[in-house]
């Protein structure tokens, strides 16, 4: 197991009370495998990623039962050891390509710094590695690019640079937090294909965060659907797409463009809003927006297994749930 997360929580004290941004989520990623965490904006995806990297905002509090990377418990690591792990064994790609690169250093400086931080290599070797990776991520004239500054590159190119930079030390795990959200649709598709092929070539685990089920269907081996700080459904991608059991997953699917409902058409969104995560929370977080909500939903629901590796957090039995799914899918032209 490359990454094993058990009962991860992130709490942020705010003026209004404690914000329970992530509430005891568990998941794992194997070597060479892609796990997609999917959910609406604000459900805690980014904080989950940052918690893994130990890069949370200063006042956020992380707690976890287990946070193991290649068998090493991350919570037990010193700051220095964690720093060594970052960039070398686990690297992260961020959502905002425009602001995530340092504006006053060249692409080359920033890339070679990463390698030279972790490996004893010469500047020349580091440059060669950078050139190789820039070429590999589809940037032409890599030598010239090395001498350029981020502001001279378009957003798509910058994100490619970020990916190349993350690959400098050949990490075992890449965490990509909505890497394509800020980019044009065409660029998005190219970058995703690139990520897939890189993953094949380098055999790394990929934790891909997105709010787009379309991306999930193309990229994921496994899926974790997040809602309001919890995982509400998780399992292999085929199982989830064939049998979405949680009403929220079903709702997300209903919003997905199908061949008949073309991309550009107005997509239906799930009505209602995400509950505030401040203070004591109880019951199913989705019940306020759920078409099948019942009084019993006010009580806490545990994740329940459905099939091999497929689990969901709802009181509805799977057969009813599936029947509902069919209804939902049908009634949404």
């Amino acid at each position: 197991m490359l990454l094993d997360v058990q009962q991860l929580s992130v709490d942020i004290p705010t003026a209004q009370g404690v914000l329970h941004a992530v509430q005891g989520i568990s998941f794992s990623v194997d070597n060479g495998e892609t796990l997609c965490i999917v959910g609406e904006s604000g459900c805690g995806k980014s904080l989950t990623a940052l918690a893994l990297m130990n890069l949370l905002p200063r006042r956020a509090i992380r707690t976890a039962g287990r946070l193991a990377f290649s068998g090493t418990e991350l919570q037990a690591l010193s700051a220095a050891a964690m720093n060594k792990l970052r960039g070398e064994n686990m690297a992260m790609i961020f959502q905002e390509p425009m602001t995530s690169l340092n504006p006053v250093f060249t692409i080359g400086d920033q890339m070679t710094d990463v390698l030279r931080q972790h490996r004893r290599v010469s500047q020349r070797e580091a440059r060669e590695r950078a050139i190789y990776l820039l070429t590999r991520v589809g940037i032409g004239k890599a030598e010239t690019r090395l001498g350029q500054y981020p502001h001279q590159l378009s957003g798509g190119l910058r994100q490619r640079v970020m990916i190349a930079m993350a690959l400098m030390c050949d990490p075992k795990l890449i965490i990509a937090d909505e890497p394509t959200t800020a980019l044009d649709v065409t660029v998005q598709a190219e970058l995703l294909r690139l990520l897939l092929s890189l993953q094949e070539e380098f055999g790394m685990g990929l934790l891909l965060i997105t709010h787009d089920l379309g991306i999930v269907s193309r990229m994921a081996d496994n899926v974790a659907v997040m809602y309001a700080g919890q995982i509400v459904e998780s399992g292999p991608v085929i199982s989830i797409f064939e049998n979405p059991l949680h009403p929220y997953t079903q709702g997300l699917m209903a919003c997905l463009p199908t061949p008949e409902r073309k991309r550009m058409q107005h997509l239906r969104a799930i009505p209602g809003t995400v509950p505030a995560l401040v203070g004591q929370l109880s019951g199913c977080r989705f019940r306020g927006r759920c078409p099948y909500a019942q009084p019993i939903c006010a009580e806490d629901v545990a994740l329940r297994p459905y099939a091999h590796d497929h689990a969901y957090r709802c009181v509805l039995p799977p057969d009813i749930s599936l029947a509902n799914a069919a209804v939902t899918l049908e009634t949404n032209p």
Binding site: F94, D113, Q148
Partner: protein
């Protein structure tokens, strides 16, 4: 980069001309300069003689042109008090003041940078508060009083430093502390706020996600960005420090341009005063010009503004 430098040189040049004009006009500020120069006891015949001698009878633009043309060739006129060309007195004195400016500036930076960076790194801790107190006190401390306090401390109570003159390096210790502490607060506060802003950016998060050592994150990745606004302010502060040498040099009896300026003003040696005002202004213009270039070097967005690709 070359184009950038050329453009900046152009505006610096125009600025110099305007500033020279103000310096030149000083002599006319209080009415007929010839009467002033002739002194209270001078007769109107004296005034007329002076008027012809200095060319005060010509139109002001013509006079200005003559004056600036001479100044460009290093001729700043004739000192009334020393009865020598102003230029020959000026250059030694300017050297002393520039040396004092340099040592003070180094002291200011040595005080401001570490404190500003530490205050940002350990924001809201006692380190931050100490730095804030040092800055607030420095901003409120009149230089001449601080100078006198240092004299009381280091020359009267503990006689370890000389009070006046500029012969040895010891003579520069107290004046440098005074001027440096005068300039440090602004630099320190801007360093602090720049570092705080930089440390919260996405690119610093990226650097940390890539496992860059914390020291490098702080002193390379963040500092370089934080320094960009600090450069201009530091240059301005250095300019103010040089102007502040008027006060400090007179307290410590340092034979620099500042003291010369003060004495020349008291002696109504107007050509010397004019030349000094011009020199101090030019030094300021040059400093801000250099700061712009340094900034362009630090910040590629500024340097490459003309040459955008992609």
């Amino acid at each position: 980069m070359l184009r950038f430098i050329l453009r900046r040189s152009g505006s610096a040049l125009i600025l110099m001309v305007v500033v020279s004009f103000v310096a030149f006009m000083l002599i006319f500020a209080a009415g007929d300069p010839a009467v002033k120069l002739a002194g209270e006891a001078g007769s109107s015949a004296d005034a007329a003689r002076i008027r012809a001698l200095y060319g005060f009878d010509k139109p002001i633009p013509v006079q200005f042109f003559h004056w600036i043309a001479a100044a460009v060739r290093g001729n700043f006129g004739h000192s009334l008090y020393f009865d020598q060309p102003v230029a020959s007195i000026l250059f030694d004195r300017l050297g002393v003041t520039l040396l004092l400016g340099l040592t003070s500036f180094i002291f200011a930076l040595v005080l401001a940078f570490p404190l500003g960076i530490a205050a940002a790194r350990w924001q809201n801790t006692w380190i931050d508060r100490t730095a804030l107190v040092i800055a607030v006190v420095g901003q409120a401390m009149p230089t001449f009083w601080f100078a006198l306090l240092l004299v009381i401390l280091f020359s009267v109570t503990f006689p370890i430093l000389p009070t006046s003159g500029s012969e040895t390096w010891q003579h520069f210790v107290m004046p440098s502390i005074v001027l440096g502490y005068f300039a440090a607060p602004a630099i320190m506060r801007l360093t602090r706020s720049g570092m705080i802003t930089a440390l919260e950016t996405d690119y610093i998060r990226t650097a940390r996600a890539m496992g860059i050592a914390p020291r490098n994150v702080l002193l390379k990745y963040a500092l370089r960005n934080a320094l960009i606004p600090v450069v201009s302010v530091s240059a301005a502060q250095l300019g103010y420090m040089l102007a502040g040498s008027v006060v400090v040099e007179s307290v410590f009896a340092i034979n620099g341009a500042g003291r010369l300026a003060w004495e020349s003003i008291l002696r109504s040696d107007l050509p010397t005063v004019q030349a000094l005002v011009l020199c101090f202004s030019l030094v300021y213009v040059i400093l801000t010009f250099l700061a712009d270039i340094l900034n362009a070097w630090l910040d590629p967005r500024m340097r490459l503004a003309d040459a955008r690709t992609d």
